[in-house]
Amino acid sequence: MASTTLQGLPASPGIAVGRCWTVDRRRVRTPRRNIAAEEVEAELHRLESAIELSVRQLDGVRAKIQGAEGAEHLAIIEVHRAMLRDPSLVDESRRLVREEQINVEWAVKRTIRKIKGAFDPDDEFFRERRSDVDYVGERIVKNLLGHGVDVAETPPPGSIVVARDLSPADTALLFHDRKVAGLVTDAGGITSHTAIVARALEIPAVVGAGRASASVERGDWVVVDGGRGVVVVNPSAGERADYEAARIRQMEREAELARLKDLPAETVDGVRLRMVGNIEFGEEVPGLLSHGGEGVGLYRTEFLFMGRDELPTEEDHYRDYRAILEAMGGRPVTVRTFDLGGDKLPSGQKDHSENPALGLRAVRYCLRHPELFHAQLRAAVRAAAHGNLRLMFPMVSGVAEVRAAKWMLAEAFEEVVAQGIPARMPPVGIMVELPSAAVVADRLAQEVDFLSIGTNDLIQYTIGVDRQNKDVAYLYKPLHLAVLRMLKSITDAARAAGKSVSMCGEMAGEPLYTLVLLGLGLDELSMNGPSIPLVKRVIRSASAREGRELLDRILGLNTADDIERTVRSEMTRRFPGLLEGSASVGPVSG
C-alpha cells in the first residue's frame, strides 16, 4: 500500500509512530419540526433532562481526570458546565419552544447560532469560545436524541488518535493518563484547546490536517511529526524505520539536555557561569526554571504598561515583583527599570521626535518623569525585602546619570523606611548598551555593583545601523571588530574593578558565540529559557582557555566576515552538529 503524506499545522512538537485509533465524531443532524401547543410542556421537560444529563456527564469527565494533569482540562470543563446553565442559552431556547412552537433540538440549535453571533470569528479568543458554544450545543442535542456524546473506549497505549475534531471533554478523557502517543485532527488551529493540551502534555500533535480521518482506518500505521506538521499514513517500512530512528535521536537529545538541567554551567577548566533568563511576564518563570534557569537576568518591567489605559501604581509593581521573586525562590531576579520611550510609551502618548532611538527614552525618560520612576523605585525596595532582587538602569550614557538614578533610589528607600514599611536596598547595576557607556565602563564600574551588556542596542549604536531597516540590516554584525573590542574593554573594566558582568542580549543565547563569550570572561549569560540547555552544553564541554585563544585570534582579524567564518569553522570543528538548525549567522531570537 502506498503511503500518504498530509501537511497540517505543527501543534505540538515531537515524533510519534504508532497504530491509528480513529475517534468517530460525526456531527448530528438536528431534526426540525413544529410542535402542537400541548407538546410544549413535554419539550421543555426534555430540555431540562438533557441539560441535567449533560451536567452529569461533565461531572463524570471531571471526576475521571481529577488529580491527573487536569488543571488545563478542568478549567475548560468548568466553562462548558457554566454554559449549559447559562440563562442566555436556557431562557432563549425555552422561549423559542414556547413562542414559535418548534421542537427543542431546533430551538437549541438556533439559540447557539445566535450566541455565537456575539463572538467575533476573526478574533482568536472568540473563535475558541465559539467552538466551546458549539460543543455545548452539540452535547445537548446529542443527549436529546439519545446519541453517545463522549468517547467511551480507551485506546490501547501507544496509539495515534486520529479524529475529525475533538471536544475538550474528549481531549481530557483520551489524554489525561498520557498513554496516547500522538494526535491528528482534521480541524483546529494551533491555539485550539486540543493543541494547547497536547503541548502541555508533550504529546506530538498535528491539527488542521484536512482529510486525515477519512484517509485512515483503525490499526493503520501512522507517523506524526509534530514539529513540522506532517502526517504520514501507511508509511513504507523504510519510512517507518527512518521516523523511528529520528524519534529515538530526538528523545536522546532531549534526555541529554534534560540531564543538563541541574548540572552547573562549568567549563572543563573550572570556570563557572550563571545561566539566567530574560522574561517579560511572571508566567514565564516555570518554563525558565524547567530549563535550568538559575535566576532572572533581565525582567523587562515596561510590559506592565502594555495594553492598559492607566499607569501602573506602586502596588501594581510591588505585587508583580514580589510574585516573581517568590516564584524564583531566592534565586536572583534582576529588575530593569522602565525602558520606555522611543517606540515604547504608555498608551495615549507618542514620541513625535525626529529620532526616537536617540531621544527621551529609558533612564532619561525616568529622570524626566520622577513621579513615575519614584513609584517604581519604591516598589522595588519594598519587594527586595522578599527575595533576591537586583536593580538595573537601562541606557545609561555616563556617570552623572547613574548618580542621579541612584540618588532617587536612595530617596525612595529612605522614604519607605521612614514610613515603617519593610524594605531592603538592592544591589544596583546598569545596562551597558551605549558606546559612551562602554568607553567609560571603568568609571561606571566604580559606581555600581554589576554591569550587564545589552548587545542588541550596543551593536546598533556602535555600527550605527537600524536592523529593522532592510537596506542596512546586513551591516548588523555581532562579530564586528568594533563590537568585539568594546565587549573586551567592558569585561576587562568590570574585572579590574572586581564587579560582575553579564550579557543579556540575543548574542548570549546563541551557541555560535558561546566560546567567544567564554573568552571574554562573562560571569552571567541571560537568555530565553529554551536556549539555556544548548549554551550550557557548549560551556560544559569547552574550556575558558580555548575561548581566550579564539578571542585573541579573531581580534587579530579585520573584517566581520573573516571573524564570523573563523568562529563558525571553529565551532563546527569543536562541536559537530551543534549549529544544525541555526540557519543563519545572525542571532536567533526565540
Partner: protein, 90 residues
C-alpha cells in the same frame, strides 16, 4: 432593595479569559441579587458566562460592577474578592 456600584480593574495578565469568566459566573450565581458588569458601554448579566465572555476584558481594563437586590452587599464583597485576587492568577 439595595443597589451598589463599584469599579474594578482587571489585574491578572491574561485578563478576563475563559477560566476567570467561569469563576465570576459561579460567584455571581451564589446570590439572589442581580449582578451586572459594564465595560465600554456594553452591559451584561454576570450570571451568564456567555455575557461575561463577550466583555473580553484585558489586563488593566476597568469593569463597572452593579449589584441590586437584598444580598447586594454580600454579592459585591464576593465579586470584589474575585477581582482583587486576579481570579486566582497573576
Amino acid at each position: 432593595m439595595e443597589r451598589l456600584e463599584r469599579t474594578f480593574t482587571v489585574v491578572n495578565s491574561l485578563g478576563l479569559h475563559a477560566r476567570p469568566a467561569a469563576m465570576v459566573v459561579q460567584t455571581a450565581n451564589r446570590f439572589r441579587s442581580d449582578v451586572h458588569f459594564e465595560k465600554d458601554g456594553l452591559q451584561i448579566n454576570a450570571k451568564s458566562i456567555m455575557g461575561v465572555l463577550t466583555l473580553a476584558a484585558a489586563k488593566g481594563s476597568s469593569v463597572i460592577v452593579t449589584c441590586e437586590g437584598q444580598d447586594a452587599a454580600a454579592a459585591m464583597a464576593a465579586i470584589a474578592k474575585v477581582f482583587e485576587s486576579g481570579f486566582g492568577e497573576r
